[in-house]
Symmetry: C2
Subunit: 399 residues, 2 copies
């Protein structure tokens, strides 16, 4: 993938800085994006004002870095006497000296670093005479926010796996029995959040994806947007399922939420579902390049407030109603730029964002509907192809 | 769990600092350990010289933090006008002002921070008049390295799940057919690293564990300790399987490696396996409180060098032979203190470490044997109960 680092190179040239340095492992999405490299150990990525990318890696990573990375040069720490320096000065100070030598080798005396750059490294390099400035304009985030076709395809692939997992989860809920207490029963056992989560994860694994967390939250659990859910699932209650898998190979993410009610939802549950679907459609109708994330978020608030529900816009201290943002960018991170919220700037073609309005109240439960879309010049392309219905259906064959 | 933060409190008192601040999410093991709290969003943990722990969390996390965290106080960002400050000054500068108010509220004017503390926050707080010093003595790592009984039990639980997964993987290799080309064939398909990895992961999920990566590396792949492996598994080749699962609930990790050869290993393969087993036993015999990690590592180097294999001790530039450390501490991180390597300090009772010698050569493949042990006053307790044999056996029933 031919990424365009010219905004970063321009910034370095304008501010008369010699380089932009990342010191992390490939769990840092910026580093993975710029280096095109994935390694369990920490490594360092330097971008110079000519737009070139230079990696500093351990001997264990060197061969793979030369082969796999999108870098102009790859140097191993041993070339700067890493082991001798660590023995003489200790591991951390030794490492700082190796970095200093690497930077000197590339003629770098002043660097910009990301906000999350380790303070230990920044202060240590300063003691070695380097000038270290925090880059505070989110340049790399903005570069990453606009996706290449290959990235959109990676996200789409993760979202397709997501659809398979959602279908398994929905089918378990749709086909469960209901016992005398109203608890869902599956294969003779009470159907729990944990059981559904496990089947979601196994389905994702079989489709090349993994996830750290997933949400299968029933009733009061679903009224807290950050509650992952636990315990038995009940009929006549709202069940929120939010799945955000990561493709194990590409590391790009998908994200989708559906809300189900097995049995008889109350009128208020149905009303909340309908208003949420309306807010979801209003948001989507607003999406196009040039519109702000704030405008999309406002479209959701308009629908909810018109229906009499609180939002953080109408009441910043509310803990019921619509109490989160409308959406977020997604890519190598589940949450990345752009923001679809009160502080959301202009959307651009190629942004990939979630649209996920929701309503929460411990007395009723939670409702959230979420799709994943690519912003286009005049609207959007939906990367999600999954039915939206409160009543669960059997969508896959069960054994 | 009643953790002992007195070394950190003593350091603050001695250096006349008002607090120790972490600014991360619960993927930061230090923060998770000190706060006893897990949240997807970033939050902040302050330790004051009296040993008290104070959390600053978003409104979405507040309820759970009050309920779950091991903290003396929990404050929500809204109490410091987070939203108004973000609107007025932007999200990042607004956040800095919230942190400044939180620190001022606790009478804190000077802080120590971990090395990985974000430079953006450190420099921003400095601009607001805070004195920020990097804590460079690894105090929190050292506290975490000595495990409480509950932590050892969490690690043991993850290691038991690991054993189930290893048994599934070993059984697949043991029971596979061998086609005319020497490729292993399982259920009619070539048996690949990816297929074995998938079954390992599914088994771990069913035992409450997950993992980011696992290694199933055959032949030349196994000769690179960081290669995860890919493609078909072959008879008469060495297959390295290294599994490091994380318990999804407790977040503690297990770690184990076994090496198998289906079919006929060469004499050199067998020799390498036997010397590695000898090195493994020599290392274990050395382990006890008061012995250094370096001494344990030297015991491994002695065996290998006596047998004529290169080590990084005998040849710092070698890329074949024994080319990594003997082991590492494990807990909330897969790799944490103490180090069992040339720079390994004294082991203490309660340290949990891996012992994992190995030999690597692209012409032969890789061999590694790894168990997980608790250091005791006079030896160790092995948390691993899994056979060590080059020839794979069927250890679980297959369908």
């Amino acid at each position: 993938m031919d990424i365009d680092l010219s905004p970063l190179a321009d910034y370095l040239a304008e501010d008369d800085l010699d380089g932009y340095l990342i010191d992390d492992d490939s769990s840092d999405a910026d580093q993975r994006y710029i280096s095109g490299f994935s390694a369990p150990d920490a490594y360092q990525t330097l971008v110079t004002p000519d737009g070139a990318v230079h990696l500093l890696v351990s001997g264990l990573e060197y061969g793979r870095a030369v082969k796999d990375a999108d870098a102009d040069t790859v140097t191993r720490t041993a070339d700067y006497d890493a082991q001798a320096l660590a023995t003489e000065h200790g591991r951390y100070e030794g490492g700082l000296r190796v970095t200093s030598r690497f930077l000197a080798d590339h003629g770098v005396e002043s660097i910009a670093v990301p906000r999350n750059f380790p303070t230990g490294t920044a202060d240590g390099l300063r003691e070695h005479g380097l000038e270290v400035t925090v880059e505070s304009e989110d340049i790399v985030s903005d570069i990453r926010a606009v996706k290449h076709d290959a990235e959109i395809e990676h996200i789409h692939t993760a979202q397709r796996a997501n659809q398979q997992a959602m279908a398994v989860a929905e089918t378990m809920i749709a086909t469960a029995d209901i016992d005398a207490d109203g608890t869902l029963v599956y294969e003779g056992e009470p159907l729990t959040s944990e059981r559904v989560t496990q089947e979601i994860e196994i389905t994702l694994l079989r489709h090349g994806c993994s996830l750290d967390e997933t949400i299968v939250a029933c009733g009061e659990h679903g009224a807290d947007p950050h509650d992952r859910g636990s315990g038995p699932l009940e009929a006549n209650e709202l069940i929120v399922i939010d799945i955000f898998p990561q493709d194990k190979e590409t590391k790009y993410n998908g994200d989708m939420t559906r809300t189900f009610c097995r049995g008889e939802p109350t009128d208020e549950m149905v009303r909340r579902y309908e208003r949420t679907y309306e807010a979801f459609e209003a948001a989507l109708e607003t999406v196009e390049a040039g519109v702000t994330g704030k405008a999309v978020h406002d479209a959701v608030c308009d629908v909810y407030e018109d229906a009499g529900y609180a939002t953080l816009r109408s009441d910043p201290s509310t803990d019921t109603g619509f109490i989160h943002s409308t959406g977020h960018g997604i890519g190598l991170d589940v949450h990345e730029a752009p923001s679809v919220s009160p502080v959301g700037d202009e959307l651009e073609a190629g942004h990939v964002i979630t649209i996920e309005p929701g309503l929460y109240d411990p007395a009723v439960g939670g409702v959230r509907i979420e799709d994943l879309v690519v912003v286009t010049e005049d609207a959007y392309e939906n990367l999600t192809d999954y039915p939206i219905a409160l009543e669960p259906s059997a969508r896959v064959e069960t054994e």
